[in-house]
Symmetry: C2
């Protein structure tokens, strides 16, 4: 398609007027066509009005109808895979294979939510029958389920141009819930966003849905991003990005007259603990697996392992192994200049801290946004003295912590902030310390991993990609997997309604054949 460089505002395209910008090829530094036209606050008003109007109709669509919409979006994205690959590789420096895999994941997510809608039980229908003869007062008939909350705003992630951007996990789960979505594009991959936005728009038209079901806005996060989160029509926000960016949105949402949930997935250092038995038994193998996880995608994953904690025995060999494996990994270009310079700044800051030594640092040419792997080392005492050592260095850098004994290891675990993941390598002989450690880590992380590595977030029913603050804004949910849908819902109860005036999910005869809780017991279709 010919990229136009303008926003999608229902059936129309934006006219800009609030600035111009272009994508930059992070490898060459070359500016890419076309110019992208930023929208201003008046467009926010128009877009929110369209979304609110669309919600009235869209929320009444059946699960089948919404499933068709999600499958149509996936099909439209599949149809433009080659175009996506060309533009995405130029905008992000991500290799072709990764682009194709992320496209696959994006479409898989859309179809997984379609499956969920077709099955239908996700609404968690609960029915209590009336008892008119109960004393002292009759018991009413009460029936409740999840319903869509209203228009949602989704902020594209810089590090997932497809799977957590225009038609990514947040958009898929919000649309599945029945919420119109207003997407705020990320400045580093506007062309990829436009190609996907056009695919979504084609699906809206093909499915005959109201225009306001989807919008894609180009513009500044500080102006239109904030204005979107403040707008009374907006009822939920999805965000993947920096802690400062997420916090700004959380604060804005919390200060509204009617606060709304912000589902922000921010930062984590994803600690990996290697217990003594595991280190003895397979230290080399762990070093290899760890460095693979650390350097995957130039370390640009929120699940990147930024802390590696092990005991003293065998530590120097293990550290040497990790360092030498990391030193062999060729530097690669990061997503954009901002990420690359933040990475180098964070690594520089960490190396100057008292008690931190450099075990490996792969130098990358400056000016080309390239980054090499970095392995730093410190002691538990130094780590516990300086809380900033637990700060994220977004990229392929990790801090190895030498823990003299079990208590020291537990002390590190206790000191940690909320995390997306926590990993433990153990064997049968580590059993006792494992139990104590995992009891601490369960309070710190959304996902606990045994003898594995944190990168690679499986899209499945059992996944939790979330975790206590500050890893996310709200550790009660997950941004990956079907459970993500309830982030965009709220509970509604119908009391004493005639059967034909109830939503089908709650009608006595269970016409959809879904699994429900009836008078306190689960009843299959």
């Amino acid at each position: 398609m010919d990229l136009q460089g303008t926003s999608f505002i229902g059936a129309a395209r934006g006219t800009g007027g609030a600035g111009e910008d272009r994508a930059v090829n992070p490898v060459s530094g070359e500016e890419l066509d076309p110019v992208y036209h930023a929208e201003g606050e008046e467009t926010v008003e128009a877009v929110c009005r369209l979304a609110a109007a669309a919600f009235v109709e869209f929320r009444e669509k059946s699960g089948e109808e919404k499933a068709v919409f999600l499958r149509t979006i996936a099909d439209e994205i599949d149809a433009v895979e080659e175009e996506i690959v060309v533009r995405m590789t130029a905008e992000t420096a991500l290799p072709e294979g990764r682009c194709r895999m992320e496209k696959g994941r994006t479409c898989f997510q859309l179809r997984l939510f379609a499956d969920l809608l077709e099955e239908g039980s996700w609404v968690d229908a609960r029915i209590d029958h009336a008892d008119p003869d109960r004393a002292p007062v009759p018991k009413p008939d009460c029936r409740s389920m999840w319903r869509p909350v209203g228009p949602a705003v989704v902020f594209c992630a810089s590090n997932f141009p497809l799977a957590y951007s225009v038609a990514g996990g947040d958009t898929a789960s919000a649309l599945a819930a029945g919420c119109p979505v207003i997407v705020k594009a990320h400045g580093s991959h506007p062309g990829t966003a436009e190609i996907v936005g056009a695919a979504v728009r084609r699906a809206v038209v093909k499915c005959g849905l109201p225009d306001g079901v989807f919008a894609l806005l180009y513009g500044s996060g500080r102006t239109i991003g904030q204005a979107l989160v403040k707008h009374p029509a907006v009822q939920a926000v999805g965000f993947t990005g920096s802690r400062s960016g997420g916090r700004a949105l959380m604060d804005t949402a919390a200060a509204r007259p009617e606060p709304i949930p912000v589902w922000a997935e921010m930062s984590a250092v994803n600690p990996v603990f290697v217990l003594p038995g595991a280190l003895k038994e397979r230290g080399e193998q762990i070093a290899e697996g760890f460095v693979g996880s650390l350097t995957l995608g130039v370390g640009q994953f929120c699940t990147n392992p930024g802390l590696l904690i092990s005991g003293s025995e065998g530590r120097s060999e293990f550290a040497g192994e990790v360092a030498s494996l990391a030193a062999e990994i060729a530097p690669a270009t990061m997503l954009h200049e901002g990420i690359a310079s933040s990475y180098h700044g964070a690594v520089d800051a960490m190396t100057t801290k008292k008690g931190v030594e450099v075990l490996a640092r792969v130098e990358a040419e400056v000016g080309k946004n390239a980054a090499g792997a970095v392995v730093l080392g410190t002691s538990v005492d130094a780590f516990l003295t300086d809380q900033s050592m637990a700060d994220e260095m977004f990229g392929p850098a990790t801090l190895m912590i030498e823990a003299g004994d079990e208590e020291a290891m537990l002390g590190v675990a206790e000191s940690l902030e909320g995390q997306l993941t926590a990993t433990v390598h153990a064997t049968g002989e580590d059993r006792e310390v494992f139990a104590r450690l995992i009891a601490v880590l369960e309070r710190k992380a959304g996902r606990l991993i045994y003898n594995g590595y944190p990168t690679g977030v499986e899209v499945c029913h059992g996944m939790v990609h979330g975790g206590p603050a500050p890893a996310t804004s709200d550790g009660r949910s997950t941004s990956v997997g079907p459970r993500a849908i309830t982030r965009f819902t709220r509970l509604v109860c119908w009391q004493d309604f005639p059967d034909d005036l109830l939503p089908v999910e709650l009608q006595e005869g269970n016409p959809l054949g879904i699994s429900r809780i009836v008078d306190g017991s689960r009843i299959e279709s």
Copy 2:
């Protein structure tokens, strides 16, 4: 028991030092013994430390063990019913029958959560099996469920001295989840709180649970209430009360370095719409039911119907009926002086608004905290011109709105803020306008009631006692019924864990026999 007038801080009693206070009999104005000793901020620190320590052990308790604890609390409360009735009637002016009914409801709630824990499926266990042969990368084994979030703070409600206070719905659901609870007593019924607090404490001892599982603090909301919500160990808050009080807690919680959820149930006017067909068919009957709901418990329920909207035809007869029925209800004493004076102030303010006429106002003797029913009337135009007409008058007062036609009625519905409930009276001939109206009201309320009245919140699986802000802080949940438990939980995922290191709920053989979602399909035990 001899009331001591001090807080419960684990196994110890408080020593006060931050002020003294006494309960007041709202009928006589007499001060009641004993003196209650307020705690200061240093006690908050001690209590939170105890709760955090207790959480480590309490969170590992099985559903069976937590169920025994909840049942023991209920039994201990049952055993002191007579004592509760004597003190509660003196502190609150609530009639004996209401005290006994509320005691019954409190114990019913505790036992309902015990049932839920014994059944066990509430954790929403989801299991995805590994596929080591999947290309391009093996699929890991992922298993997840709800886990307790950490120590919770519960603020006692002035209007539910038992069912939403020391061992009420918030406490029951937090303990059921596995969270220690720190209760902040309400100043208007400290003795009732002490009797129930002692019952909970006896249950803690009988069940051999860590002391920090329960605390009950006397003191100022502005000092210890705020300090509790700020404390890093506290992970969730339950509150029932005024909009200003709830908002203050929400703002404090949102400003924390790690924000936590505040489940605040605040204010609502619970509109009741009477459609033309229903008014024609059974206007008198509706007037009678409405006035009963309006004046129940001197109007001191969050579900009290503060707005009554009907069409023009037959309106004067209907208004006359409502007014004359309300005029027959004898005034009664409110819970405390603060509520009574707020009520009179709110009614006075409403009657001075432009376009508001007084249809009935039962005068009550001033100085004895008594309140009489008030029925006011206005037009849709006046109502839509002055948003403050939708403000809550907490007590037995309602504003009748005359809507000339359907569109006017829909305009009123559209103008409303978030509500706990919305009620519609209709017949077959109202079908079309009913559908349009309910579509608007579903976006405004947590519970929709057909041909009924909003007071009387059934404790059952299908209940939703919640609703969009500002009725509550967060419309995604309910404070009544088993679903309330997840307010005090977060999701945790175990990846690739050996079976014997998993929580029993997630073990392959399903030893608890609970309902789970396995590889995307629900599997019964």
